[in-house]
Amino acid sequence: MSTLDGGVLPDWSSYGVVAASGVLAAALLLAAGIFSVALLLVLTVFVTAVVTYTWSRRIEGPRRAKDRLVTLMIVAAFGLALIPLLSLVFEVAKRGIPGLSLEFLTESARGHIGGGGAAHALVGTLVITGAAALISIPVGLMAAIYLTEYGGGRLGRALTFFVDVMTGIPSIVAGLFAYALFALIFGPGIRLGVMGSVALSVLMIPIVIRTSEEVLKIVPNHLREASYALGTPKWRTIVKVVLPTAFAGLITGMMIAVARIIGETAPLLVTTGVVDSINSNPFSGRMQNLAVYAYSEYRTPGVFKQASYDRAWAAALTLIVIVMVLNLVARLIYRRYRTEIR
């Protein structure tokens, strides 16, 4: 009966049915002797769906019943999508912590047979990513300024289009590009830290442009016009009015861009190579980094396999922590320093 005065399921029905179904499913599985958490979850969702649908159909009519069924399915799908995330965070923490130690963070792998730390990889990550940021941020920011402030015709449209294209470049192709470029100049087989930075820049520049453009676009026009009205030249208007207004957003966007590329593996695998000792000069010789370190500890474990795997996980954990901190700080900066625009 789905008339206006028709019945409605009681408020507790949704949670009640889930709980009851869980108990029922557990009992069924135990009786059949095939109990496991995964099966319990699947069966609970299934029983809940059947019970909710039948009950609601009797009391509320087919349309409400379908609504409840779909809602349940969407929530279940969301839960399903959540499982890998939780598993990932949990496993990385569990398996990464045993390998983390002071030695891991302060010593290189040089002179340790199948051991040592990842200091050389940490240094490499910072140098390579730092150099990539040094290339990408000025170029990306100026290009974003060009798009929003000068907005010029054909070049602007071409730039917008090709930045879209650049966003889609697979990271390994960016690595191959850097290799191809340097191999033409220095001959084949070349491996340098700066090659990695160039490869990462190809990936980072479009992110910097996109995020900066978004932020610059929302700087209100009346601020610019007020500045022009005072006789300020355009470039000083940009430097003194537009950029400071957008400051928090720009910093946030750049940190997120750095977070996005700091964990890249593939492009560095083909450009910076693998090495055991600390090298902080991007223009000379091979350079290790955290992601490649994690990969090579997994791919070519030493005599003590488990110790190598522990180090791979420790490197993965370090990377995730760096990325999380960058994201968090970016958000905090944005909230603390953003300019209220009215």
Binding site: A77, I169, P233, A291
Partner: protein, 303 residues
């Protein structure tokens, strides 16, 4: 004309030249990517088959890899899109308001997890966990070519690689869909509800039609990501260079990106040119995918 102070004129010119210079630099960079890859790929194109790795012609070398690339990415998209639409609907229309901020942060974080971490998770956690279910698939659904088996006992299969790619592209696909779902005109939604529609009927009649093109373009963007994803596949797949639709066996085709990552560090000479040529093919495939996605969005925006 604006009135500009004398000193500002030079500054203005320098600054605008810098901006134009940056724009041109980026276009040159992208042109450089295509040009240098082409230059380095040419030797492999013109070489005779006997000189190439495996003694096969370039097309025979790349074709199985391209097949593996498309297969892995297709699995990921087929599994990720329905899930992503559900996640997007949950966040935009079903979740309680106070959950929105933490949910948004979580999706951001998922998108930022480095691919090497997904790879390690796939080989150490998901792979072993998938062995049992894959044996079940072989026994119960073995008549479908996908699950022909024999099921791998290590979990290093195309199916596991596809599942990891699914998890990796889920955030981007759902982010694109959610963005548009939450822009569905309020008056349409409230109109539907006022006419007595249930929430699902309202979603089906207003939100989904409105967001249809965003689902398609999100799927294409996800496809582009999955095609180019390297490390997760490199770590998980055990490669045997065959072409098969069998998703759960030990013998798998590799993908272009994974093949480059595996072979490049040890390659010299013509082998490197061959790998770069395969990278060029990958670039072309992802380019077409991404352009198609943009075209769909652009057409929708005009309407």
């Amino acid at each position: 004309m604006r009135f500009v102070a004398g000193s500002g004129k030079i500054g203005d010119r320098i600054f605008s030249n810098l901006a134009v210079g940056a724009a041109i630099t980026i276009l040159a960079l992208l042109g450089g990517v295509a040009a240098f890859l082409l230059i380095q790929a040419m030797p492999a194109v013109s070489a005779s088959p006997s000189e190439l790795p495996g003694g096969k012609s370039l097309i025979d070398y790349i074709a199985p890899l391209a097949f593996g690339t498309v297969l892995a990415a297709t699995i990921a998209v087929v599994l990720a899109v329905p899930l992503a639409v559900a996640v997007a609907l949950f966040i935009s229309h079903i979740a309680p308001r106070k959950l929105l901020l933490p949910l948004g942060y979580m999706v951001d974080l998922l998108a930022a997890v480095p691919s090497i971490v997904y790879g390690l998770w796939g080989i150490f956690v998901l792979g072993p966990a998938a062995v049992g279910p894959m044996e079940w698939l072989e026994q119960k659904l073995g008549f479908i070519p996908f699950f022909e088996g024999p099921a791998s006992v290590t979990g290093r299969t195309m199916l596991v690689a596809g599942l990891v790619l699914t998890v990796m592209i889920l955030p981007i696909v759902s982010a694109v869909a959610r963005e548009v779902f939450s822009q569905t005109p309020r008056k349409l939604q409230e109109g539907a509800l006022a006419l007595g529609a249930t929430r699902w009927e309202m979603i089906r009649m207003t939100v989904l039609p409105f967001g249809k093109s965003s689902i398609i373009s999100g799927a294409m963007l996800g496809l582009g990501r999955a095609l180019g994803e390297t490390m997760a596949v490199t770590i998980i797949l055990s490669v045997s260079g065959i072409v098969t639709f069998n998703l759960i066996s030990q013998a798998n085709p590799s993908t272009i990106a994974a093949n480059i990552a595996l072979d490049f560090p040890e390659s010299t000479g013509l082998a490197i040119n061959t790998l770069i040529a395969s990278g060029l093919v990958l670039f072309a495939i992802t380019l077409v995918t991404n352009l198609a996605a943009r075209a769909i969005v652009a057409r929708q925006n005009i309407q």
